[in-house]
């Protein structure tokens, strides 16, 4: 039987597919290939965990879904751009994503670069649009935080470390920082965006940040565990690529068992930070459990 969390996550994914589709361009003109690729990449599924976090954190403060779903859409769109560029031949060179051919395989490399570029711009366009929140200050703050999380001191910085760092030089401290930038920054943003939309009090923001930090790390360690243990068919993407490439991961540095214990511990710690929200945060607690229990 589907539990409450699984149902909520599935409902979010359905909601997001409709919302995302409304934001994506569609045309019969010469840019058609670009628009087709944008739709292909964004609408090809995915857990929508980042969208779920935005919406659930915003729900803590009774933010209108009209606003939180738009922010969630912007974040999923930005996340999709990063996947498209990460999959490029000059990056991780992946053929499969979410069980489907990657954008440069389905279309070509040129379209993959342009699609990523256009999706990044679209994410900021959505956030800055007056429909996202009546307050210009809040819209600007949402843009500023996402740009910081996505840029050279965030996601792109982490991706650079990931590609250029020599496996032998990587300590547990380094990989923690790398992953905090590469995937943690956007997960942190997902949670904080809800707090920004909801004019959260400082103690609430601190709690949400701490939750997001531990959740992000637990998420990444679990990704490394799944990459080491998973089957390509089930995962919908190539597995064991980090090990094959001789890359340092949490699993290579800690060993499988310790990595599992560490992820579990972080998940519990994340849940602990939510106590000030009482019962209202139950789905966020379940998200922390899901993060380390998921099979893909």
């Amino acid at each position: 039987m589907e539990d409450k969390f699984a149902k909520a996550l599935r409902q979010t994914a359905d909601l997001m597919n409709t919302a995302l589709s409304s934001h994506l361009p569609q045309s019969e003109s010469l840019e058609r290939q670009l628009h087709d690729a944008m739709r292909y990449a964004v609408l090809s599924g995915g857990k929508r965990l980042r969208a779920f976090l935005v919406i659930q954190c915003a729900d803590l403060f009774d933010v209108s879904r009209d606003y939180s779903v738009r922010v969630a859409a912007a974040l999923e769109i930005l996340h999709t751009y990063s996947l498209i560029h990460d999959d490029l031949p000059c990056m991780d060179d992946d053929d499969l994503r979410r069980g489907l051919p990657t954008v440069h395989k389905k279309f070509d490399e040129t379209i993959a670069v342009l699609t990523g570029d256009a999706l990044q711009a679209l994410a900021f366009e959505i956030l800055a649009d007056p429909a996202t929140h009546p307050s210009g200050t809040i819209r600007a703050s949402l843009v500023h935080k996402l740009a910081t999380a996505a840029g050279s001191h965030g996601m792109v910085g982490g991706q650079t470390m990931d590609i250029y760092a020599d496996a032998e030089d990587i300590s547990l401290a380094t990989i923690t920082r790398l992953q905090q930038l590469k995937t943690g920054a956007l997960i942190q943003y997902a949670c904080e965006a809800g707090a920004i939309l909801g004019h959260a009090a400082p103690a609430q923001i601190t709690a949400i940040r701490a939750y997001a930090h531990d959740l992000g790390l637990a998420f990444q360690i679990t990704d490394d565990i799944l990459d080491a243990e998973g089957e390509s068919e089930e995962m919908g993407k190539r597995v064991r690529k980090d090990a094959d490439a001789g890359k340092a991961t949490f699993v290579s540095l800690m060993g499988l068992e310790k990595a599992k214990i560490h992820a579990e511990m972080l998940s519990n710690q994340a849940i602990g930070h939510l106590s000030i929200f009482k019962d209202n945060a139950d789905l966020l607690r379940e998200a922390a459990v899901f993060t380390v229990k998921r099979k893909k």
Copy 2:
């Protein structure tokens, strides 16, 4: 002797190099290659014409340079990202830009993709920062307009048309639309950003938009003329690449002489739109003259 306009443009370029440098990251950590490439690309010169237009249009409304220089920096940074990605092997495959090796030649393709991605994020980060303007509504509006101008219905859309349009199918109307998206949208933004910062009246915005529209087209036609006539050494980039690639350009469609007359006419028309600003717009008038008289 250096004329008033040339001096003003040079002063803007000097001012911008200082401003841009302050916005760019620098580190000794594992992301160093990314940060080095960002600095290399953004600080490698260029006319800074877009920055000049932002600052001059903002000056019409006595906007503090503290604000307009930041917007100008964001725009030059976004423009630089587009050049880096346009030069990639899977796009125009260029080795030379502003007289120097392109980013993928100087560093590598991976860094070139990541550098462009990080610069796009940085442009929006600068615009949304409270230091750019005290009003959140104005900051959000600056972000929204730039994102629209840069995205799938603007610059990236134009670049897609440029790469995928069959030369035989391109009419003068099509190439005008293509260039309006590919280069016109950012030039239009440069001028409109000044008007947004300055709370311009509707009639003033209309005048600035009309000026920017004609200027942008004159700029692109002149680019095509220079590409057909210029020497690589003088231009600091590969020339006659459009003709070599069998691409439609204003020159291939209109012929060299007609293209020159058309550019001149548009430049005069652009100047005509500025009459409501009286003497205050003299440097913008000279910019329109420069746009069609420049040698690179």
